[in-house]
Amino acid sequence: MENLPWKKFDPMNISLKDAIKYLFLAAVLIYPLFAFANEYVLHVMVLIMVYMILAMGLNIIPGFCGLLDLGYVGFYGIGAYTAGLLTIHFGLSFWVIVPLAALNGAIWGVLLGAPTLRLTGDYFAIVTFGFSELVVLFLTNEIWLTRGPLGLPGIDPVIINFSWLSTMINPEWDWYWEFLGLRPYFYLAVFLVALVYIIMGRMEDSRLGRAWFAIREDPIAASSCGVNLLTYKVIGFAISAAIGAVAGAFLARWTMFLSPDMFKFWESFLVLCMVVLGGLGNFKGSLVGAAVLIALGEILRMVLPGLGLPAETRFLAYGLIMVLMMRFKPMGFFPNIATQSQNNPILIKLKKELGSSS
């Protein structure tokens, strides 16, 4: 437990770079408490955090295990609808719903992963893609359960109920709970991001994380060292799916409305962009990737209508970013240390001379 961030924190001996980092983080955390905090900015910040969770979760598969998962949005959708339906029909608390959604995500992860994770890269990508399309079709067509294209409105948004406080202390304080608005979601999202971040950090350092890296770098060598490829891949896939489902569960309670359109393939692609931009195999990079791409998307969303283009064309920029990334920085801006060795110029030259067989 020595290398947890707060254990390393030593206020007497802190570099300028770290000081700026901590100050920025503190500013972001305190910002919503001010009355001048803009609702729109808060909304974007919460959205960024939802995608941070998704990007960290997805990174396990392409970044750590070296497989392309194009169906991540399927687990996001499963988590969201699980949470939404449980809230509407049973009125369960958020803290009960999140583990249930994660469990449901993990179950589907195992159901999909166990038979398909034997497959090689391209085939696996296609199977996961088909899975996410089937999830969208299910959500659209099973009207008795999901109301189909009409969407699922009226999900109780209350996560922390303040009304008892208000009646107990002073009913006149209602304005304060109104002022809070999105703020509880903001802090809840911060909590979830921090939770996933810590879990990811612990996993990366564990036996599990090392097994994944071994599988990504050389599956044959890993399996001859006694790493059971399928087991570790399925575990990774289930964890990744569960994290996606948690993001979905949060989304359901935050937006109060779900529709199958929210879980189309584009979302998978967007999350993949974040992972690749931030660096394959580096979950801290995923945080940066999510923040950059969502902020860029919001800027484009404001700029594009001015140019007379539909806001959806921001995907044009995303597509181009992906192509250029793969061309010039295939491992992202902050690659994992282990993959940096792969980008060693001597190794690349050697690979070119021998002809890449992978």
């Binding site: 497959l119 391209d122 296609i126 199977v127 088909g130 992906m322 192509v323 002809g355 992978s358």
Partner: protein
Amino acid sequence: MFEQQLINGLTLGMIYALIAVGYTMVYGVIQLINFAHGEIFMLSAFLAVTFITVFGLPLYVVILMTMGCCALIGVMLDIFAYRPLRQSPRLAALITAIGMSIFLQNLAMIIWGSRPKPFVQEALPSFLRTTAVTIGEANVSWLQMSIFITASTLMIILFLIINKTRVGTAMRALSQNRTSAALMGINVNRVISFTFALGSSMGAVAGIMVAIYYNTLYPTMGYVAGVKAFAAAVLGGIGSVPGAMIGGIVLGIAEALGAGYISSLYRDGIAYGVMIAVIIFRPSGILGKSTVEKV
């Protein structure tokens, strides 16, 4: 009703087969799932309508011109997006292909708008919508007849190119072993470009056919059609051209019958379901050879 569904399915299947050969040839030669192939199919429909409305050209000329343009787009795609990544990991090339697909789709949205458009009816001979023959209780329209005839002709031509010409031999050699092919004096990049051109022009014809058949075109049409064609390629055995043809026809019929007898809501789901099942249980497909996995 059964005969009618069968005829409709066969028509669709012919179209899927035409797109699927594009996927399967590219996969056979460079082991890349060219996700942007569906977008070339979509671009062809828009280009055809543009040629008709702007230049007022007859349909036959437009089809040839669109084939040429799409072949060019396919070659450009290879040169600018895929060629720099020949030595990179497979993951990078696959992500680039998805990136190009999204890019082209949104480019089309900017150029032609995101709303569905009807095909230019004036450009079509009026007899196309009338019944050509009646088999049992099923009516086959002239349009369906033309689709059968055009698609079969194209496939025969394709078959001849692949099996009887020098460049076809080079393509087959490349799909066996790229390094040895290069050692035998084959210009690898030129053959790959030719493969893209050939596949894209087949996809172009399919794009125009679908636009006429459903009388609608929209920027996202390449996405679903592309996935189904890929499913067809997988079903037939990816890398195998006759497999893609058979896979397309089987998938088209399965889809039409499934939509007619099981549930029309899961029409697209049948293709995905077939694809997942085939990949899990028989990754080599109907005609594919089971290859030893290269590491």
